[in-house]
Amino acid sequence: MKMKKSSTVILTIVAIVIAVYTLFPFFLVLLNSTKKATDIVANPVSFAGSSISQLMENINKVVTNSNFNFWAAFGTSAVITVVSLALLALFGGMAAWVICRNKTKWSTVIYMTFIASMIIPFQVVMLALISTFRDVGNFIGIKMLQSIPGIVFAYCGFGGAMTVFILTGFIKGIPYELEEAAAIDGCSPEGTFFRIIFPLLKPVITTVTILNGMWIWNDYLLPSLMLGQNGPVKTLPVAVQAFVGSYVKQWDLILTAALLAILPMIILFIFAQKQIINGMVEGAIK
């Protein structure tokens, strides 16, 4: 009994340390977005100069800044994230279903290719990616760089492997008899996917949507390469660059813009917390 109690205390301490370690950067962003640039530079962990009115002033400056163009960047980020997530869920689900149910030598090879692609770091492919996208864009006549369709296509590729991997594991647990029952009831293969399989994927799609969503929304490197720092289309993390000059960094505005950028994710987490955790647990055991 005593041992159990002491191990609980140790676990609690470890959990607190991890929580502090994880939340500290967020705390710094939150704290310093309520301060003036001079106060931030003087001492970034001090509460001196911090006030709600300063936060409001900073927000106002960020939102109305013509270089930053907050609402356009927000809209671009939202469109890219939502469309990428929808396509990932749809095509990831289809691919996982076919890989699971059509057991051939080729389906195994394709599945293994998906898995293998997960271990290749993005930095290895990023330069080749840009030139390939430029060439492909020129070839098919659709602008792939500095365009929303181009980056959505890239996200579908980079997110596809993990999506297929997680969904395949889940689909394996769905009894095949459901599909046979649907076939007898009169469903076509497409009908079986959309009417039976896809609705059953809801919990695990929630999980992959959260994982992919956080990554796509917050991603800086891929959009900065594909959309460019000065291109016509910018996501929120790329647009924050507007406050970074060669000689002057407007830390108050940078951090306030960062706060505004992560806010939708935090709000989403607060409202969908229960479903996210359910989805993760269900995905893990099925």
Binding site: P175, E177, L178, E180, A181, A182, A183, I184, D185, G186, C187, G191, I196, P199, L200, K202
Partner: protein, 369 residues
């Protein structure tokens, strides 16, 4: 019309060396309740799935009614199927589960509603229509699966071990419900099970299968009274038939089955069986006696006794199963619980000789019943 006809049907899986179902010929009449029974891996489920169109046919022809259905997809075969694990759509309510097939066939909404409520009423599901499958018990889920098949009004009803996930009590009650359903729907039922009790109690005719080959296809009574071979004799009946090696001896113009076990037991073979067994005089055959075909002490005569050693008994209420040994052979004897047969002692029990079965030891085929 929904008769089913297998003509030289073979099913072989890709890469396999032997066929799961080799050259099957089977005629199922319209409105019949047929049971496919046999041990695991005997090909009964594969046969059912071929009717459903869920398995392709390697060679041969399969007809439903007059229509060759080899290449017709499941949805166009006018069949409905109940699966062992129910296969209810978890994200749909009971109502939508039952209505799904009709909705896909674009049946009028009012008609769907009428049929769903009618099926729900018959299956006592009317108060559960808005629930999801996970909120139902095993028996209720099974009834939803039946309802889903019923509303389609199919020409053939296929059931793949539908009761094996239920507890013993529920299985007994569902058994009678399915039999009643067959009478009400008056359509062809093909039912797969490995449980011989279900086979005996439900079917008009039973197909006993082993290694993909039909061992016997007849009514439950015929299968019980006159099994074609050792496998059918052992499979039908519970507890199963006892088998003992017996030498056929002729003495004074009469034939005897001589069993060497606890000493030598000499059992007189009734006149009706003598002709069939004459060619076996001096040879060893297999004597089959059902546990219920042993008799109480007062019926014991000098010519019908089998000497055995009592091992233990299992009380079932009105009767008990007596486990005895005849030499090294285990024998089960059914006796009324009023009979007092002491455990551990050697006794002689009476055999109901007109009900003895004899099988050829080499071919395992029945010689005479």
């Amino acid at each position: 019309m929904a008769s089913i006809s297998f003509k030289n049907v073979t099913k072989m899986y890709e890469g396999a060396k032997t066929a799961v179902v080799p050259n099957l010929n089977l005629e199922i009449a319209d409105k019949e309740f047929i049971i496919l029974v046999g041990p695991s891996g005997c090909g009964k489920s594969t046969t059912l799935r071929m009717i459903a169109g869920l398995e392709t046919i390697t060679s041969g022809e399969l007809y439903i009614g007059d229509r060759l259905v080899n290449n017709i997809p499941p949805k166009d075969r006018d069949i409905a199927m109940v699966f062992q694990n129910y296969a209810l759509y978890p994200h749909m309510t009971v109502y939508n589960n039952i209505a799904f097939g009709l909705q896909l066939r674009k049946v009028d909404k009012a008609e769907i509603d009428r049929r769903v409520h009618e099926a729900a009423k018959i299956l006592d599901l009317d108060h559960l229509l808005q629930r999801k499958p996970k909120q139902l018990s095993g028996g209720q889920r099974q009834r939803v699966a039946l309802g889903r098949a019923m509303v389609r009004d199919p020409a053939v009803f296929l059931l793949d071990e539908p009761l094996s996930n239920l507890d013993a009590k529920l299985r007994t009650s569902m058994r009678s419900e399915i039999t009643r359903l067959h009478r009400r729907l008056d359509t062809t039922f093909v039912y797969v099970t490995h449980d011989q009790t279900e086979a005996m109690t439900m079917g008009d005719r039973i197909v006993v299968m082993k290694d993909g080959i039909i061992q016997q296809y007849d009514t439950p009574q015929v299968l019980y009274d006159t099994p074609d071979n050792l496998f059918v004799a052992g499979f039908i009946g519970s507890p199963q038939m006892n088998f003992l090696d017996a030498q056929i001896e002729e003495k004074g113009g009469k034939l005897y089955a001589v069993v060497e076990g606890e000493g030598t037991s000499r059992i007189l073979i009734p006149d009706a069986k003598v002709n069939a067994l004459k060619p076996y005089v001096g040879k060893t055959v297999i004597l089959g006696v059902r546990p219920e075909h042993f008799m109480a002490d007062e019926k014991l005569t000098a010519d019908n006794g089998l000497r055995v050693k009592v091992d233990f008994r299992e009380l079932l209420g009105a009767e008990y199963n007596l486990y005895v040994f005849s030499g090294e052979n285990k024998v089960i004897v059914k006796m009324p619980s009023t009979e007092k047969l002491p455990e551990g002692e050697e006794i002689t029990i009476a055999v109901n000789t007109p009900l003895m079965h004899f099988f050829d030891k080499e071919t395992e085929k029945a010689i005479v019943h």
